[in-house]
């Protein structure tokens, strides 16, 4: 087992009286797809936003490559090589693909935008991911389909030699064909040695690409299991009840109301 590239331990987060995350422990390994699953409101998106530095954490530690880090700004996470592809996509509609991929980290030449260079890099990245669904890196993002947008958002995340990529419901609004393409892309990221975290509701997706599954139940990690050792039924039970057979939360904890 390799060392985890990102390790979260004992993370708590409350919004006012609502305790959203409770003692979360989670490890992300390079070259593996870790699926983060859970019901609506289980705290998946909050956890991701805490790691991104959009929300602050109340207690707990985050270690990146074995060293403790404090993530309190999206740029800190980006500088470490942790990238996020959000559910609401985080692409600016009125910019084109290249401009979006470099937004916030534009390449400058004499203080001005070096668009030609950015365009080449964007194209190289898409080619390296074997993306063939977008015809031009100069296309406006507004004209792209859901799958193409997701592809661009993922390509944006790997453009920066990132080491960990979080994908928040990348296949949520996609058709069969597009879902297939995005999942293949997710697998390729892991095969290139990145630590990938896939947040999903879709058990088929999870069983297909994930190596490990971490199930969140009411703000707690119910269990972390290997996909090859578990069945869809087991994972669904972990999501809905917090326990399945002898794995998962203790019955008393699982039945505790929030």
């Amino acid at each position: 087992m390799p060392e985890p590239i990102l390790e979260i331990s004992g993370v708590n987060k409350s919004f006012g009286p609502v305790h959203v995350l409770r003692d979360i422990d989670l490890a992300i390994y390079p070259g593996q797809v870790t699926a983060l699953v859970g019901d609506n409101g289980a705290g998946k998106s909050t956890l991701v936003k805490c790691i991104a530095g959009i929300h602050s954490i109340d207690s707990g530690t985050v270690a990146f490559e074995g060293k403790p880090v404090i993530l309190n700004d999206p740029r800190v996470a980006a500088a470490l090589g942790i990238e996020f592809v959000y559910q609401d996509l985080a692409l600016a509609d009125n910019l084109d693909i290249t401009q979006n991929m470099f937004l916030g980290r534009e390449i400058r030449r004499f203080g001005f935008l070096a668009d030609g260079q950015m365009e080449r890099k964007a194209r190289e990245t898409l080619t390296s991911l074997s993306v063939r669904t977008v015809s031009s890196v100069r296309q406006s993002v507004a004209s792209l389909s859901g799958g193409q947008r997701q592809t661009v958002a993922i390509a944006k995340a790997v453009l920066w030699n990132s080491k960990v990529v979080f994908l928040d419901e990348p296949t949520a609004a996609l058709g069969v064909q597009q879902t297939r393409q995005v999942l293949e892309l997710v697998r390729r990221l892991a095969d290139q040695g990145l630590g990938v975290v896939l947040i999903s509701h879709n058990m088929n997706d999870v069983m297909e690409v994930a190596d490990r599954v971490a199930a969140l139940y009411l703000g707690r990690i119910a269990a972390e299991v290997l996909t090859k050792d578990s069945s869809t039924t087991q994972i669904v039970e972990l999501i809905t009840a917090g326990r399945s057979g002898d794995i998962g939360l203790a019955p008393a904890t699982a039945n505790e109301s929030i």
Partner: protein, 361 residues
């Protein structure tokens, strides 16, 4: 892929970011820029052949071009604000204020002009910051904030001027600079066109400009990326206030004796000009060059009506109608392209294209 030349080169260079596939992107399309460009040319032809046969004469140019110049400068400022989804109603008061500052600080002496201009600049930056901070940091409504700030500035201007004016004329240097022309075309117009190009360059070629565009059109995205989105939008208000300041100073120089109604005609017209330039009132789409054409259009239209002897009531009515028409047209153009893509997707060729594998160009 042929090398773009001449005017076409200018258009491509100004409107599009420099790309490796440079030049292949020029296609005549129904965009706000092309529409206002066409309308502008039509209006010029009407002016020359129907309204007055002396439209391009030195006389009418020397009247018209300074008006257009000031209008363009003010409207480009308004365009920056409207690009963020806001609106700036303090424009008239800011122009009147700088007019008064130039008058009072310079005391009709050329030597004191620089000091007066520095005072104007500081005042504009402060007003822009107040507008921006109230709207972006406190998330108040742009309409109300700028209306209130405009009222504050107007009140301050009255107090500042006092009841008796010791000086009624701006320094000679300023009026000479603002009144200068080449072959009947005012330098004001030249300067304003220059500013519109600088604005376009800023938005398309500079890092801050692109971040401003992103922060305006997709504020959520900008935040997730880690941009200081509100900071960039506040910057837009400061840029705008400074443009009004430049416009106000030049207008004061042009008129010689700026009064307390100096900026009033620019309140509605600057907004009309930006809308004519195809700006969406919800923010995001802003083009200084299209705004330039919009400003020229509304000024020439007003001039034509005046030449034909229409009353001020009729002219105001026309401005209102133009505003409504431009808004509906801008909406129509956007929806047209959406409708067009629906039709294309339904066609067999398009379906094949989206299904199949297309190499990255």
């Amino acid at each position: 892929m042929g090398r773009p030349r001449g005017l076409r080169f200018l258009y491509v260079a100004a409107m599009q970011p420099r790309t490796a596939s440079f030049g292949s992107r020029f296609r005549p399309r129904l965009t706000p820029f092309t529409v206002i460009g066409a309308a502008f040319v039509v209006l010029l032809l009407i002016s020359q052949f129907y309204v007055t046969s002396h439209f391009f004469s030195r006389g009418s140019m020397s009247v018209l071009t300074p008006l257009i110049g000031v209008m363009v400068i003010v409207a480009v400022g308004q365009a920056f604000v409207m690009g963020t989804g806001g609106i700036d109603l303090s424009v008239a008061s800011v122009m009147t204020l700088v007019g008064s500052i130039v008058l009072k600080q310079s005391q009709n002496q050329n030597g004191r002009l620089i000091g007066a201009l520095v005072f104007c600049f500081v005042a504009c930056v402060v007003i822009g910051l107040i507008n921006g901070i109230f709207i972006e940091a406190l998330r108040l409504n742009a309409l109300v904030v700028t209306l209130a700030v405009g009222q504050l500035v107007a009140g301050y201007t009255r107090l500042y001027r006092g009841n008796v004016l010791a000086y009624t004329d701006v320094p000679r240097d300023l009026s000479r600079a603002a009144g200068a022309d080449i072959g009947g075309v005012s330098y004001l117009l030249v300067v304003s066109v220059g500013l519109a190009f600088v604005g376009t360059f800023f938005l398309h070629r500079m890092v801050e400009g692109r971040r401003l565009v992103a922060s305006s059109a997709a504020p959520g995205t900008a935040l997730l990326v880690g941009l200081r989105a509100s900071g960039y939008r506040i910057l837009a208000y400061v840029i705008a206030a400074c443009s009004y300041g430049v416009g106000g100073v030049l207008l004061a120089g042009q008129l010689g004796t700026p009064d307390l109604t100096l900026g009033d005609p620019y309140l509605l017209t600057s907004i009309v000009a930006v809308v004519l330039g195809g700006a969406a009132l919800t923010g995001g789409r802003v083009s200084p060059l299209a705004t330039l054409l919009g400003a020229a259009f509304i000024t020439i239209l007003d001039y034509d009506l005046r030449v034909r002897g229409y009353s001020s009531g009729m002219r105001l009515l026309t401005q209102g109608i133009v505003l409504v028409l431009a808004l509906s047209l801008a909406y129509g153009i956007r929806n047209l392209s959406r409708m067009g893509s629906i039709f294309r997707r339904a066609g067999p060729g398009r379906a094949e294209l989206t299904q199949g594998v297309v190499p990255i160009s």
